[in-house]
Amino acid sequence: MGPYIMGGDMIKKVTDKDATWNDIPWKFEAGTPNIAGAAGFSAAIDYLNAIGMQRIEKHEEGLTKHAMKRLGGMEIYGPKKRAAIISFNLKSIHPHDVAYLLDKKGIAVRSGHHCAQPLMNLLGIIGTVRASFYLYNTKEEIDSLVDSLKEIKGGL
């Protein structure tokens, strides 16, 4: 198999007639490698290990439980037991309106069909709003999300 992309390090010898390819992996790793990406990845691993995966999981579980309780009045999709990601809708309000208005309040969510159009068809909806939580989120932020959703529900 020849190289799939041209660049530095993927050749051994080049003449005006032909070329021979370098050994694997260099043959497939033409050009400057993603050095910043590797350094960032290493720092991220150190950061997460210092906190501890179990503590992170527990924090996420706590946030998800709190969010599921507070989002009670919304249309929520998916199982009750879940990771820290929740798809929902405010009845009759387009998910893009909800996401846009949340964005204006500094709350970032995703909206739309989430690259899952067949599932949206099955559910009979055009899309959902999707909020996800992680290590750096707090219960107060979830409360702020819920307050903003109530405001949007009342205003639109």
Binding site: H94, H96, D97, Y100, L101, G112, I126, I152, G155, L156
Partner: protein, 122 residues
């Protein structure tokens, strides 16, 4: 929330509903967000005498469609063909975030499809 004018057209859409025997009918949909708008036009001597729309979408796309139907009445079909995207967005919304521009343009594209495809039976 959205500006008052947008909310007004979203909550009380003008010229909403299908039209019997339109002279022009055009559809446009944005599969990315599911917005879908159909525009109907009736003309007298080349001038739009009636306009209506139906469809579903977000507040921006539906309020835009409502505003568009008000704007086109009294204009010639030729005017509609020449109606620019920037001019429409500016007249309807004044300022509009770039991220919502496509929402606003669904109805305009439906109207363009209507006049470009010409008069046809529905």
């Amino acid at each position: 929330m959205y500006p008052e004018k947008v909310m007004d057209h979203y909550k009380n859409p003008r010229n909403h509903g299908s039209m019997k025997n339109p002279d022009y009918k055009g559809d446009f949909g944005n599969p990315v967000c599911g917005d879908q708008v159909r525009v109907y036009l009736k003309t007298k001597n080349g001038i739009v005498s009636q306009a209506s729309f139906e469809g579903e979408g977000c507040a921006i796309s539906l309020s835009a469609a409502s505003m568009l139907t008000e704007m086109v009445i009294g204009k010639s079909v030729k005017d509609l063909e020449g109606m620019g995207e920037d001019d429409f967005v500016k007249e309807a919304f004044g300022e509009l975030d770039k991220s919502r521009r496509d929402c606003a343009l669904v109805c305009l594209k439906a109207m363009k499809n209507a006049v470009n495809e010409g008069s046809f039976m529905c």
